[in-house]
Subunit: 406 residues, 2 copies
């Protein structure tokens, strides 16, 4: 075998209180190996069943359901806020992080020529949303480059030094998508506040992965998905706003909550299926009950270390190129590996590679950043070391062969 | 019994091809009588099961689901557009009619001081949305009163004569919510176009109830719910835009579809559960297969006539007041009856009465318009004459007694 022996020990797989493997809590297909929790999450079976029961209740007496719905959404919101460590009165529910960004961009009264400052790690859809908002006032998006391996101070400086008189908003990721690293959002927000510039933290990946995602929050706007690492039904996300700006925020759908204050007005969205919001607390509670969030996070981190080691070893032994990457501020449950040279040099190329690897039986995230292709590995509690071993043995040789064809 | 004998014959109940009563197609609770289809719709059991199967597919291999999703949404959109008689390339999917209104209001580049013109039949949430949009530019909403019994010409004149230089948008209901009547949206839109004022038609109740809801459409914006009379899973609605304005419309959630043209960019909304969009065509097809839409609509109209007759008779025999109402342009499947004097004189009072009547075992819509309370009756294919008989016998005496207490 060309793969080198991993130097990191495989963590002991997580079991539920009955002794069953953690994966039994989910109903993920056995036709493929699930190494991409980060993109779309995964919903525990009993939570999906609970959501189905809610839908059945809605279908049984729709009028009763919709009369009671805003109160039930409010209760779910309080539960989710407590999980995040956010004040309930600062927390609104939105469908996903992109929706939270749209809510914020809709609320801004941008002056003519305004600029929105992003880093070059920003999520592509958020970048496009910011461009559209800036374009409406004859402004533009400006990109502050942050080196992949930048430590906290360098990353903070890279963002803050790019602020100028026209900067009307800074958008910065708490955990970046393409590069799977932390950015020092607390320090950045403090510096921006000092300069009078509001900050929107795109914390899509933070809830569930970070123990206290809002610990050092100093931003006016923060938005995080519950359906990723929190395993809530899609799409459930929380928008946390400072008192200074909350009054200006309105839900995506203008509905009967209009006279209510923030965040209560977000609890009413007309006739839509909000069962995902009501079921989200069940996912948060279930992980705690079955595995304990702290233990789950430790396992996810240990398994991600193992995954990085075994798959980097497989790539390096076949290519002679370094696959491990210094991301400056690594995250607990995702790892970034450099793909063999020539692969996924563009986002389209990354998608094509992802589809090819999916055909081999592996769900992965392939990303492209500054012209280099990366494999972004995820590790959740249902994953086990053997899955990454299999990827190293089966998928890596294929990927290396593809690189040689390019 | 104080009720007078109905002069309208009860229509023969609808059966599916197997001979089963139409109600067997739904899983509505038997704990209450469902006389309020109009507010929230009702989802056929097999469609709800189909949606659950879609959710299970999403949960099985999330990555494959979301990769294929925009294409599947596009196919559902084409199916829905064909049902409505709209060009697919003019039709975008949105969660509900209010969402469509928000999309339009977000897109308008209102000049300072702009006015949005509504009628006094407009849906309350839409009125509030328009107020917020106008307020942002220092403008306001102006209300054109339309008499309850106004015929088409008078209604058209009432709206068009209220247009002035500051009118930036006219919003008019195809089927009004509180008053359950048609408005002549075709004629109004033609007159507004002549004056250079765009029109948004709130057609929340039109799809499924009207055979050709877009037959005489001349409006720039039209939005209708599929989850009401079309029985699609909540929330599924269609926004139909003219070529003139479509380029300016963007989905509620800024996502990866941003570079795509209208309406394709609406097919991508990030990670949310769009199974309702994919299941909606099943509802539209099922009604056709089991009952035939034209036959279903005839039955709904005949049953609504019967319902109006028997319940008005019950009210009138107890109060001596006239309960039937001339709504000028009646709709096929809803009827408006005046409640006994003193009831539901405000929207809050109407909600309270609805809740009291719900406690008696009847789901109804109670509305309040110009200080008068109304009972809005709905008739869908699963309803039968005996349900309205029971309402007349059980609920009406209670309601009349409540009126005497006020």
């Amino acid at each position: 075998m060309p793969t080198r022996a991993p130097s990191t020990a495989a963590p002991t797989p997580v079991r539920d209180p009955s002794g069953a493997p953690a994966a039994d809590t989910w109903t993920l297909s056995s036709r493929t190996v699930h190494l991409n929790h980060g993109s779309f999450g995964a919903v525990p079976t009993v939570v999906s069943e609970y959501q189905s029961a809610l839908v059945a209740e809605m279908n049984s007496i729709p009028g009763d359901w919709f009369t009671a719905l805003p109160g039930r959404v409010g209760a779910a919101r309080a539960h989710i806020a407590a999980f995040l460590g956010a004040p309930t009165e600062a927390t609104a529910l939105v469908p996903n992080a992109s929706a939270g960004v749209s809510v914020v961009l809709n609320a801004l009264d941008l002056p003519a020529g305004a600029e929105i400052l992003l880093t070059d790690h920003a999520y592509g859809a958020v970048h496009m949303a910011a461009e559209r908002a800036a374009r409406r006032v004859g402004g533009r998006v400006r990109v502050a480059p942050v080196e992949l391996d930048a430590a906290a101070d360098d990353a903070t400086r890279a963002v803050v030094d790019a602020i100028d008189d026209r900067t009307a908003l800074v958008i910065v990721d708490q955990i970046t998508s393409a590069t799977a690293r932390l950015l020092p959002v607390g320090a950045i927000a403090i510096e921006c506040r000092r300069r009078g510039v509001p900050v929107l933290v795109d914390a899509a990946h933070a809830p569930g992965m970070l123990a206290r995602p809002l610990e050092d929050n100093a931003a006016d706007y923060w938005v995080g998905n519950l359906h990723k690492w929190g395993c809530a039904p899609r799409g459930t996300a929380a928008l946390v706003a400072s008192e200074r700006v909350a009054d200006g925020l309105h839900p995506l759908i203008d509905s009967w909550g209009a006279p209510d204050p923030y965040p209560v007005r977000f609890d009413t969205q007309g006739t839509i299926d909000l069962s995902s919001y009501l079921a989200a607390p069940r996912s948060l509670d279930l992980i705690e009950e079955l595995f304990g969030w702290d233990a789950a996070r430790r396992y996810m981190g240990d398994l991600a270390d193992y995954a990085e080691d075994v798959i980097a070893g497989a790539i390096e032994s076949l290519t002679g190129e370094r696959a491990t990457v210094d991301v400056g501020m690594p995250v607990p449950a995702m790892r970034l590996l450099a793909l063999p040279a020539g692969l996924a040099t563009t986002p389209a190329g990354a998608h094509e590679l992802r589809d090819r690897v999916a055909a081999l039986g592996f769900q992965t995230a392939m990303t492209s950043w500054r012209g280099t292709g990366y494999l972004r590995l995820s590790a959740h509690v249902y994953n086990v070391a053997a899955e990454y071993d299999r990827f190293a043995q089966v998928a890596v040789p294929h990927i290396v062969a593809l690189a040689r064809e390019t």
